[in-house]
Symmetry: C2
Subunit: 172 residues, 2 copies
Amino acid sequence: MEKIYLITDIPGYTPQVSRLLSMMNYARYTTLSAVENLTSNQLDFLLDEDSNSIGMLLLHFAAVEFAYQVFTFEKRDLNKEEEAVWGPALDLGEAGRREIRGHELSYYVDKLNAVRERTFELFKTVGDDWLHQEEAFWHQKPGNHYFMWFHVFEDEINHRGQIRLIRKKLKV
Amino acid sequence: MEKIYLITDIPGYTPQVSRLLSMMNYARYTTLSAVENLTSNQLDFLLDEDSNSIGMLLLHFAAVEFAYQVFTFEKRDLNKEEEAVWGPALDLGEAGRREIRGHELSYYVDKLNAVRERTFELFKTVGDDWLHQEEAFWHQKPGNHYFMWFHVFEDEINHRGQIRLIRKKLKV
């Protein structure tokens, strides 16, 4: 926590990987701050019938991070079993509203921590050269691993903004 | 645009500055996509009386970026004149709701572009060593310039998430 406002080296990781992880760590810290002390009912609250609950968004973060682990480190898409587990959280929308509810905050935090622990392990196995590897990505334009993992945390920050807005408007 | 999904070198900037600017550029690209074709009425729309309009959030991005230019490159706070210009957009809330309205999208985009152009110029004058300089920051913990500029774009992404949510719920 003394280093939470530093984008800097982290023992065990190469310089660019360290900077990326510094940003991911700060994003996660603010996510967890944004949901502190929410009850199960509050985590399930919907602004309206087309909206995502805060619980859905939390599980979305874990799902996106898991999907990018598979996509960038194993170079494959999710298989059927993984899709069954993570699909509703990945896609959000109707299936998410139906299936992701009734949990306490600790349920989501445990999932987030478990996926993040694996991310920390995986990044120990690669260096800055890996981050800069490019391949065809969205719209057939080149994307590098750095961008793909930047996207993981920028998606989290995007939805954290929504979580803060939803939290202000909770009616439960 | 061919490099929009690459976090990589940019001519005229040092390696870490380039990576930071790559992320800032992508964040801005998604911000502008999120507000494309919005009318003046839509930019003024409020979800409720305590909310920020999309127009307010757009001007907030320019204000935050300007404030961090002053804070990190000139090592001072905003003066009275600057505070008068940017205060309502920086603080959001009541003054912002009263003062920031009635503008077309181009008004906001012009402000964003003008501030960003200055950022591009300022970053030509510094290198990676500057990014890693530390000083006392929030809560008297150390922060480095890299973190401060990361915060500029992570604040934008946070509110871009809110813009996307507000846009889906527009009633004008």
